[in-house]
């Protein structure tokens, strides 16, 4: 795994999800999500997404508002990068890669592994959806008999 790519993907993911790098790494899903994105959209689009993010981040400096505006203008509104960025967000929150919109697929003539799929069994239990709603993943991450009598012990985002 290319370290620079890996770092940029983590930074982008952290900005897009609102979860810290520590929490993202703590899911154990950063590598599989990066691989999934690469397989679906290809090296070039992935590189363009990460480079654009790096530029936006550099231009914004410590200005949170500028970062927000830059992300919306240059990534989320972009016809090529927007759908990919939204897919990355969805993947972190629900552990599933969703097939990109037909329009995107037509333009890109994508050949990648882009069909909707759960990335791995762990990506379901580690999805950010659960800490976000303050619940444990149903059917997974057992918390012990009778634990349902007490409030969940979830670390808030």
């Amino acid at each position: 795994m290319n370290d620079e790519l890996h770092e940029a993907f983590l930074d982008l993911s952290s900005t897009l999800t609102g979860y810290s790098r520590f929490r993202l790494l703590g899911t154990g899903q950063a590598d599989p999500y990066l691989s999934t994105t690469r397989e679906a959209v290809g090296e070039e689009v992935l590189a363009e997404l990460l480079n654009t993010y790096t530029d936006v981040h550099r231009d914004a400096g410590d200005d949170e508002k500028a970062l927000d505006t830059g992300l919306r203008a240059r990534i989320l509104s972009d016809r090529l990068l927007g759908p990919v960025a939204r897919n990355v967000i969805k993947m972190w929150f629900v552990g599933t890669w969703y097939e990109l919109p037909q329009e995107w697929r037509d333009v890109q003539a994508t050949r990648g592994h882009d069909s909707t799929h759960v990335v791995s069994p762990a990506s379901y239990t580690e999805a950010l959806l659960w800490p976000t709603i303050g619940a444990n993943p149903p059917g997974a991450k057992a918390q012990g008999f009778g634990s349902w009598a007490a409030p969940p012990t979830i670390d808030a985002p």
Partner: protein, 356 residues
């Protein structure tokens, strides 16, 4: 740790304190190896280590039951209860150390040493008398004049078993003077390795010891215990041999289904993680601190549970799952400034180190 032959109830209680320390001391190494595996890799190896770790928790609880039965007071909250890794085992094997390491062949080799079958014969040959080596062993609960070491955990428990028998012969039922309400029974301990044994007399004490010894090293030199369960030593050995044992197999020659191990699907956690590894302020340091606080609270809760509140084991189970989730999160994060090394939790409370 200095131990002498069991001659008094106090000696026996001291042995049982050490037994609890010993059972607990194996758990952080097992859990660190377990949680160092990548989330979806190594399902077989994960299961093998998890089963053994859970059985050590049963043994800890059984030791507490025996200690309570003979009028002792379990205490897991003392700072010296948890070893500083790398450490020698508290029963005195001094030819190897255990640590909290990533899952690897070397780590499994160490686990085999922890669980190695007894080899010594009867009586005195299970002891090896040596000078006390400073710092090598865990602090003594109560020092005696003789230094005695055991070759294996099995021999240590054999001495407890014989000591119990001797004292029972001398004192009769008066030996089991503990309040039965302090016993942890099946209402509060279940699906954790095997059935819990409440200890109220000589036969239940012997039954509890038998579970501990047989799960660890098999029955009478065999690889399975009375329930047909594979002993810990052989469970671990399967990982190195790449094959499951099945009934009828001889030690060292499993003939069951293949057991595939991916030794690379592992987070390279820092060996013997300690709090002073995490000096850089930030989320990782906060997480490691939160883990140790949670672990210390957990040991305090267990101490209360073993001192007349067995019902507290139910919330302690919730604690354990929370501890698992915190540990996994830490282990998947890199150590700042140390490329190729990941962080790992420290299985001890935040209490300041005791000054001798």
């Amino acid at each position: 740790m200095s131990l002498r032959r069991i001659a008094t109830v106090e000696d026996l209680q001291q042995y049982l304190h050490v037994a609890m320390q010993l059972e607990h001391a194996t758990i952080p190494p097992y859990l660190t190896a377990l949680y160092s595996m990548h989330p979806t890799a190594n399902a077989d190896a994960y299961r093998v280590i998890r089963v053994v770790a859970v059985e050590e928790m049963l043994h800890l609880t059984l030791s507490a039951n025996i200690l309570n039965a003979v009028g002792g007071t379990p205490d897991l909250s003392a700072n010296s209860f948890v070893p500083v890794y790398p450490a020698r085992l508290p029963d005195g094997e001094d030819d190897f150390e255990v640590g909290t390491r990533a899952f690897s062949r070397d780590t499994i080799e160490t686990f085999l040493k922890i669980e190695r079958p007894a080899v010594a014969g009867e009586d005195d040959s299970r002891f090896v008398s040596r000078d006390r080596s400073a710092g090598a062993l865990l602090p003594a609960v109560d020092a005696h004049e003789d230094s005695l070491h055991f070759f294996s955990i099995g021999e240590f428990y054999a001495e407890i078993g014989e000591g119990l028998e001797r004292l029972h012969h001398e004192m009769g039922e008066g030996l089991f003077c503990g309040d039965p309400a302090r016993q942890v029974g099946p209402a509060y301990y279940y699906s954790g390795g095997a059935a819990i044994v409440e200890v109220t007399d000589a036969s239940s004490a012997a039954a509890a010891l038998r579970v501990i010894s047989e799960q660890g090293e098999g029955l009478g030199g065999g690889i399975f215990d009375e329930e047909g369960e594979l002993a810990h030593y052989y469970r671990f050995q399967q990982l190195l041999l790449g094959r499951h044992y099945q009934p009828g197999d001889e030690a060292g020659s499993p003939t069951g289904p293949a057991l595939d191990v991916d030794w690379d699907a592992v987070y390279p956690v820092v060996p013997d993680s300690a709090l002073d590894h995490y000096t850089e302020p930030g989320e990782l340091q906060d997480a490691v601190t939160a883990f140790s606080r949670a672990y210390g609270d957990f040991l305090t809760r267990l101490t209360e549970a073993f001192n007349g509140r067995p019902d507290l084991l139910l919330p302690a189970v919730v604690d354990m799952f929370h501890i698992r989730d915190l540990a996994s999160q830490i282990i998947r994060n890199p150590m700042p400034g140390r490329p190729g090394v990941n962080a790992a939790p420290v299985f001890r409370g935040l209490a300041p180190v005791e000054v001798a």
